[in-house]
């Protein structure tokens, strides 16, 4: 048990040294900029989606949530 506890404590400590950070809701100004969106130009995005669908006979899988004001 002694070694197990030490190992778990070590593991947790290492995880806390990682570079991941939480972006607070009031720090999301940069994420809300147009250039940070997946598709800053929605018309061009729609055209690209259509071309993709025509060529691949499938669609979707190219969007994600995130950015913005964090209010939702």
């Amino acid at each position: 048990m002694h070694k197990l506890h030490l190992f778990v404590f070590f593991l947790i400590s290492v995880c806390m040294l990682s570079a991941c950070t939480q972006v607070r809701s009031w720090e999301r100004g940069y994420l809300a900029k147009k250039e940070m969106a997946w598709d800053p130009d929605s018309l061009e995005g729609a055209l690209n989606d259509h071309i993709f669908f025509s060529k691949e006979a499938s669609s979707g899988g190219n969007s994600t949530a995130g950015g913005g004001c964090g209010c939702n």
Binding site: H2, H5, F9, R24, S25, C69, G70, C71
Partner: protein, 169 residues
Amino acid sequence: MSKLSKIQTFLVLFASIAFHSAFAVEEGDAAPDFTLPSIQEGQADFTLSAMKGKTVYIDFWASWCAPCLKSLPLYNELYHKYKDQGLEMVAISVDNPIEDGLDFLLDTPLDFILPADPEGDIPELYGVFGMPTSYLIGPDGTVRMVHIGFRDGDIEMVEEAIKSVLSGG
């Protein structure tokens, strides 16, 4: 369980919990005091404790947050309607750089207190979770309502809460 292994167990639990504290100011809590400079140069600093005895509505906003921009003119109307009854409106801009917030105010002038907190110290103090977040603080300094986000129809709910606090509720 030996004493040493009990200490180790405690250390393990402590390490996993202690660094994830998520303190947020909730309804019923005393509103933490703070002082912030005004977003406009030459205007006086704002201190929350100086507002004791008044009903204060604090709103955290930013120029990049669409619901915030929608809510501010509505809050301006609400301020004019209830300021004679003792309502103080405080809209804290968390824009960094501050000029982004000032640019918005050029197009949409607001008549209430406008502090600026580009470092985000006060949203951190209050445990702000989403933008916008507003706090309705009663004359005794306790938080009466915490409102996260802003959707259509929210202004009526906010007005009802303000009326209730102003009438001594």
